[in-house]
Amino acid sequence: MPPIVEINALRKAYASGFEALKGVDLSIEEGEILALLGPNGAGKTTLISTVCGITTATSGAVSVGGHDTVRDFRAARSMIGLVPQEINLEPFEKVQNTVKFSRGLFGQTPDPALIEKILRQLSLWDKRDAQIRELSGGMKRRVLIAKALSHEPRVLFLDEPTAGVDVELRRDMWEIVAELKRDGVTIILTTHYIEEAEAIADRIGVIASGEILLVEDKDKLMARMGKKELEVQLSAPITAIPDSLASDALRLNEDGTALIYTYDTRSERTGITKLLAEVAAAGLTLRDVVTRQSSLEDIFVGLVHEGDAP
């Protein structure tokens, strides 16, 4: 199956001359959730805006569902829903009116039942007749989502959907994203919360200074780059690692109650069996053993800093 979103050699230089996208290539498969991670100013919003028609590309091409976003903009844009990073809403408008307006703007006939479903799903039904300015920040963000969903997009762009949203709401949002995925909607989201990408994405893209540094399956990425830690908790604290155990991979935690062993999940031999045997031989008694996978955050920070290097 051809990718649903295809971005080819996309460049964007703003009027100031600043090049925010430096030749981005990206293919997004139908039905997947792609998380775009990147530091502030990386070009995430610019990338999304260019795909959606808010900014014009300097060169390169984008197609959505096989339709070129410039030549065949109607067909392409009809498939796209966009939740922008900034909360841009008409303060004096009623919640359900703006949502209905979005549906109409995308050329769809009114569907009150669908609008009700979306508003309920986003816990906005009680606020449907409230003016936007009467809503809290998190509610406004949900109104933006409702607007984007109102015309049943096949591809949904979420530009930092959970920025400034409380923990509970963030989980609700993830739930909604999961449900949309079940309906076959392709989702591209940008986020600064790595745990968010870890929790919901199928693939992860990392972008910095207008270039895609990497796009990979989340699981593969974590497996490839992930280091694991084995924490060997001791029954009695020790002051130093016994000489027989000394190695670069092993360190003692601060209060001397646990040995921490770092190993690579990729390697054939992790060295765990040997370690545990040696620990026993050194006469230490174990209380518990815990393993920890390094988080995406570590991977991300590592990558972006690599990109910084000259």
Binding site: R74, E86, N88
Partner: protein, 253 residues
């Protein structure tokens, strides 16, 4: 054509209008009533008939044009400036609509509002003055065309404006003088010859003249020329808007 989108924009804009309907009507009705009292009754009683029409009646078409032109411009310029200002324009830019549909929605709504006000003023005028409309169909035609063409111009101003001052400046600096000097309150033939010549460069003269012709059958310039002028002006505005959306000038980065 995405007619659903046109309708949505139009109705959305009209809702905004109806939300502030009292505000929208009170000020033009009040100011026109004042014009009638001051120019029509007080000063007008000392002015002899102009081209066979009482002065109070003579200024009716001009007053309507004055309001309709200012209203069309301010409605349309604000209508498109506001989404730009608060950022909701992103939705228009990312929607499957072309420039013509956006224009039809916004300009249509702005023109409708101006038309409403024009009609209200006409009705108010009947309270103060006695007059008849000789060519009602032409009158409506002129009124509608004026609303549309100046709403188009307002739309351009709204896109051009970078802040609220600029949004108000153009109507104040350019439109008001053009309208006042366009023969709202006098016939061009009453001016000294030099000014008569200069007046012919003022596009508003052709509108007011044609509009007045539809009331009283007399005009400063031939009616055909008036029609030509307003059609040309509308086409020009449409061309500029087409260019704006083609190049993304001031709306797309």
């Amino acid at each position: 054509m995405n007619w659903t989108a046109v309708k949505s924009i139009y109705l959305f804009e009209m809702t905004r209008f109806f939300r502030t309907i009292t505000q929208s009507f009170i000020s033009p009705v009040l100011s026109t009533s004042l014009y009638f009292v001051v120019f029509g009754a007080a000063i007008g009683s000392r002015i002899q008939e102009v081209e066979g029409v009482s002065y109070a009646a003579f200024i009716v078409p001009g007053l309507i044009m004055l309001s309709v032109i200012t209203q069309s411009i301010s409605n349309a310029s604000f209508g498109i400036y506001f989404p730009k200002f608060i950022g909701t324009i992103f939705e228009l830019l990312s929607a499957p609509v072309n420039f013509l549909e956006i224009v039809m929605g916004y300009v249509g709504a702005a023109a409708t509002k101006a038309l409403f006000i024009g009609v209200i003023i006409l009705l108010t005028a009947f309270l103060f003055v006695d007059f008849e409309i000789q060519h009602p169909i032409a009158m409506v035609g002129f009124l509608v065309l004026t609303c549309i063409s100046f709403a188009l111009m307002g739309f351009i101003i709204g896109i051009w404006a970078g802040n609220f001052e600029q949004l108000q400046l153009v109507p104040l600096l350019i439109i008001t003088p053009l309208v006042f000097l366009g023969g709202s309150f006098y016939s061009i033939s009453m001016l000294p010859p030099v000014w008569q010549v200069i007046s012919h460069f003022n596009p508003v003269v052709y509108l007011i003249s044609g509009f007045r012709w539809s009331f009283f059958g007399t005009a400063d310039v031939p009616i055909g020329l008036s029609l030509f002028a307003i059609t040309g002006f509308t086409t020009l505005c449409l061309g500029v808007i087409w260019w704006i959306f083609k190049t993304g000038w001031r709306i797309r980065q």
